[in-house]
Symmetry: D3
Subunit: 319 residues, 6 copies
């Protein structure tokens, strides 16, 4: 069993399997420059910087991002931080019996538990037109939703992050509908499931890590994409495009970022749209806090700054 990166200590020597998250070929600045690999190695517990000095041309061609490898190395402190000096490195083979999914960061609840909850929420929608439109839109990305992150950096940026975000929002939405019976729970459920439904197509991701935005993502954006998907679904289902159902679903999706400068072309003007925006906000913000605390060493009192929280860090306060 490989030593977890989170548990590395200064002076340690180790052998184990890890994932290469970033790999860059660089050259030393010596008068006769030599190649080396500047690496970020990862497992599901975290990540660490590593150097592989004297890399050969073959090494440079062999090792790239998302490679699963076996590494022999030692841990040192360099400029106040732990760093790995790679002694030996080779690609993992089938015989090694390791799988990439063991090395990636995932949502705290597995997709196999999350997806049935979403299915169930859809099944519980009583308005048949809403249910049908949600179903059709959801099916477009069903195969991707198992792995999709909810964002590139800010929150839920890992395997299954989107499904986890949706499930948590469904729980919160259900609670708030009980608190405030004037809210239409069909609409709120539909809004929660549809609000980020186009994210798996807006972003190109692999194993829960966003590699880039797609052209559609850049030129149209997930908000307008989802709005178009609703149009498409209604048209296929024969639901009147001028009906209040279509109007409401489009509005929920289009307004969920609340302000124009945050990407919403219209502002929330249905009670459920107001609820949707704030449920989305509270879940995203608290997850940002939880995520950064999880990857901050227990010994640290303060996390790094969090972009989505006014660029402020969070303190781990002991009472």
């Amino acid at each position: 069993m490989s030593k977890r990166i989170k548990d590395f200590i200064d002076g340690e020597e180790f052998v184990g399997f890890y994932l290469l998250k970033e790999v860059e070929a660089k050259q030393t600045n010596s008068s006769i420059p030599k190649d080396y690999l500047d690496i970020v190695m990862a497992d599901s517990s975290g990540f660490i910087s590593a150097k592989y000095w004297d890399a050969s041309k073959t090494d440079i061609e062999t090792f790239g991002p998302m490679c699963l490898v076996k590494i022999q190395g030692s841990v040192q402190i360099y400029r106040d931080k732990l760093q790995v000096k790679v002694v030996r490195i080779r690609k993992a083979t089938e015989q090694d019996g390791v799988s990439i999914t063991d090395f990636i960061r995932s949502a705290p609840v597995s997709s196999s538990e999350l997806l049935p909850i979403i299915d169930q929420a859809i099944a519980s929608i009583t308005n048949s037109e809403i249910k049908a439109i949600v179903t059709l839109c959801y099916e477009r990305v069903k195969d991707k939703i198992e792995s999709s992150p909810a964002a590139k950096l800010h929150h839920h940026a890992y395997y299954g992050g989107l499904a986890y975000h949706v499930v948590r929002m469904l729980e919160l939405g259900e609670f708030i509908c009980r608190q405030r019976p004037f809210l239409n729970s069909d609409l709120l459920k539909a809004g929660i499931i549809l609000h980020d439904i186009a994210k798996p197509v807006e972003m190109v991701s692999e194993y829960g890590m966003v590699l880039d935005y797609s052209n559609q993502g850049k030129l149209i954006g997930h908000i307008s994409m989802a709005s178009n998907w609703i149009t498409e679904a209604a048209l296929k289902l024969g639901v009147d495009l001028e009906s209040n159902v279509v109007l409401a679903l489009q509005h929920l999706v289009l307004s969920h970022h609340n302000l124009g400068e945050w990407g919403s072309p219209v502002q929330p003007q249905l009670p459920e749209a107001v609820a949707l925006h704030y449920i989305d906000a509270i879940d995203a913000k608290l997850q940002m806090v939880e995520d950064i605390l999880n990857i901050t060493a227990e010994s640290e009192e303060w996390t790094a700054v969090i972009r989505g929280l006014e660029n402020k860090p969070v303190m781990r306060l002991k009472l």
Copy 2:
């Protein structure tokens, strides 16, 4: 039993008890100007404009805001709106057996139900220092909290509004602590109870209607006032002012408006402070929607615009 204002119709003649919400002496623009009273009369179901033509000097001196009166009048349409023409008016007397509290707008749950819930929440705080500080601050305003509104205009602007806001937030906070066990529920409960604790002193209100801000309210503001109350409580209780408990409680109160331009001198940097801000936001925003729908006639599809929601109205959409 007096006819409810909400049920007035054109052409109706009535006699009943009502509250004078606004009274202004005006003069007609005729060449020999005559005095009349321009009135807003109210009951717990709503309010309506009224005119009392040919008011005498005595009338002008007799009738003022917050007077409980018996009115005989007729309802007419004037410029597309219903308006009352007052025929006779007199002050209510003890014999009439009416009480001002029957005529004011109140939270949907009565204070007698809300206050024990807050008491219970305080009792459930396990950290004794937090519990003691919350108790001391809460006792300063206990007699006022039965009636205090949570705001002047925006949300919960009625009798018992503040207590209702706090109870709803406590429910939501409890739910979120179950969702996210890394949150300290003592701190979150304390933050919810303390965040607006100085509002009854910041604002001068009567029967749930804010009349003005106090000098303290204008020059210090409820956020810094609450922070000072915590200092005072800790000092009286002998709790170390440099302790993490005091630090955390101060921070929760000071940061709960999230941004400097919204009145918070520091931004949330504890997980519970992030949670507190968003729980406050979601409860306030949804209540604004619910409140405005309640006073908008059923026949209207759109409400008036809501300042706290980007100056947008809300639509009453039928599916």
Copy 3:
């Protein structure tokens, strides 16, 4: 022939046909209040305030906005401005041989000249998929485009204003495509025709005057509506929804307001999208200037302030 409002002078007595733009029943503030009608009367040259004292109940029921009437009256100066005192008023009848279209403000070029130019522009699009999508979207509003204004207040707010705006933009677009051959003129033409195509459905207008926004207009907005129409058209035409043609057309429409705070969910990222936004801006801003100068008396050196131009007025400077 009726005297043009623009030519009214102090002391004048007149009889003629006019359009009632606004009519409000008011009461005098005398001790026995009397009804009168507060009127804005209009013709194609401008508008003027008018009073009809001693209006009867029948008068109040008879005269409303958009009524075509015959008025006998006199012109007086009141508080530095001309005002009409109505002596007699009656509704125009069929025998009078007057038509409402003679009394409304229109674009400087008639719709019968404008629409063929737009047809021709569509016909000149060489890419058949773009042409087909533009055609389908255009046909949805073809019957309304003859009369539609381009905006409620800011610019081109009159009969045929939208068509006039589009034609002027097409001229400018053609010129700029000649200046800069790297621009795709098919895309730019399509963008110009589609950018405001949903405005006739976003806004409810009559005779070129916007009365209100539709529910779709408020909850979805003309930008996202047009994007949805493109989806619908492509689906009906069998054009691949993932194709670059659909991507480009959607992007042109979605980005044409340039910034999130101006309503665009994405910012221009195609050369033609950059061109579209600035062609739209220059045409709208210069039309605001031209429109306000047209309704400002020749004797005035300064116009009223223009909201779309940083709330500044424009000066009529003589060299």
Copy 4:
């Protein structure tokens, strides 16, 4: 004939003449540090990074920015980008028969064609006072305008860029004056020629590359400088400083950046000032797009981000 930088490929060996755009002496980080030259070499087709290892003290003193040199070198890929390893380098001599102007980036139309167009535009101004003031201001910078760029980075940042910008704006201005005859074409022409007239003095540039801002440029800025030049010209010509001609020209120049935060002390309040601002904007923005597409490799779908376009890149979309 030297190989064009734009056509360099990996592994290529070459000998040719190039311009040194940037030269910095650095030291290797080896234990006995050695000097080398870190170079950006350029020709009119683009630029590329180059290293000259083992540079002597004489080399460091000899080679600097704007040197024209003969280089023998080889092209390699380093960190995904092409880079030159310099083998031999010497300064170009008179005998080599090369001229610096062959190696710099220029406007698409040569200054010898642009300047007569500007002269002609001035000659066509009918108002003699306007023509005289424009002529006097223009003559101050006539010798510099052949080479001046229009900006440091954003747009038209090359030899003759300012003249090219002015000529394009004159074309557009002429077209818009035909579209909208209420505009005074004398004023618009004058505004176009004068709006950036002080830029050659605001910025210190060589061969179309801005090296720095002058003290006047920093402390007064080109907008107020041009305003002062108009004062000076009017005084010399005996044109009344209080006349509408001077007022209008000053206003055109002062308001052309539209907003205070963009550097204009007053906002456009003449029709021609509104036109000037938007003609300037459309020409600058479209040139930014064209310029960045020109230096982006054909194989790239997306350009780098463009500061003047909301920090967005532009896509090269194939239909």
Copy 5:
């Protein structure tokens, strides 16, 4: 001797001389409307609303703003405020021996004391070129500076207000130059005298009351006007326009509003320019406070809100 308006009490009858600040002819809303005059009457102690019922056509033509009149009237309370009912009114004649200057609001120190202080400050400038330019600019407005206000509304909005503002700033500037000897006191004095020097031409004022902005004021603004005056003065004096003296004076004037959105095309970049902006700010803001306290009744604890102080009122706190 006329009774001071500040000392009027309810029920009082009076006869005296006053200034008509505003006069508007209105009509009663009675069925046979009658003319009356709606007046604001003023003296140097304050102002009060007044009505003159049953005004004749002659009265309407006779009485206008800035008329000096003799009034017989009575003081009444109307809607919580004192108001005058005019019984008799006539224009003041030469024989009455009253002068308009006795009835206007003035700076606390008379212009006859202020102007010599400014003269002295100019005389004390040691650099002869600076002294000459300041002198020439100052002489342009010397005849107006006796009466000019410093602003329309915000601060020093009264007879001699500009001179008073300048003198106070000179005192403060002298003190700060003593505190910080690295500042050049010639430049600071010149900047203080020149910074608002064009205000008397930017604004059209009478007796210290701003009636409007001039066309130059609107299209150029006092900041750029002053900059042009410096150019003009230097040209007339033969001071090199490229010299550091002209550069510095222009910069001081152009940058004194600090930010683009406050009207400055460049930001302060000389030590004296930084000092000038903050000396201007502190004097203007404190004068706003002092001015509003002076016209707020002693019995009031809070003043009206002050636009230049973030729309906040100021409290008159007793210790």
Copy 6:
């Protein structure tokens, strides 16, 4: 006597005592990396970059920030800047007779002169409650105020900087109270002394250099801390917490940053609070200018940009 860093010239060899401001262990990029120390060495005249090649493990452990050392080295130009090559280095010992205070940057006036001035100002407060509260708050930090800087980076960022800032503000405040007698000088003095009184606890500093913010500093901030200290002092002194004295002192402290986005939860609403904010601003801004000019070489015409002055540099203009 050691050579002053400000006087170092290229090629110089020197031996002397200096302070290590920053020390970082780095490794060369040679194939066999070697350790070296990257140093910033300082004295009271300035600082300079230095390298100590071939540092041993012992050296790395020995030398750290704030070490006082004896250095033998030589000065060279590297990339246009002077840099020191360290030949020998050892820690200073007691026998060397040097003190760290000789090597740090200090306010221009020594704390031994500044503190009595503050004492005197407190003594001169006539209101005994104000005096007592100020005294108690001041005594909390009296031992730290000798050395405390007023800010981390922006202004007065050196030994005794806070005391110097306060003394200068007291002088200015006294002058302004003479100019404007309506200001209460007790309140203004108290506000000046209290406004930054919590800074020594908000920031962790050593020898006038801020190393970090304390947890209290981050979670509460110096503004709210000072407000709490006033509460505490009043409670201890038996001053009524609801009194106007406490209200005014709290308000002065809370509002002194003027705007919410600058950290003030309330805006200035007492005359003395307005004065306090602008006195603070003018002193801070002018000190920023003076500080940066002092550390900019005489030969440089322009300083580096100043964050607190709109990111603009300041010019050293010679007349």
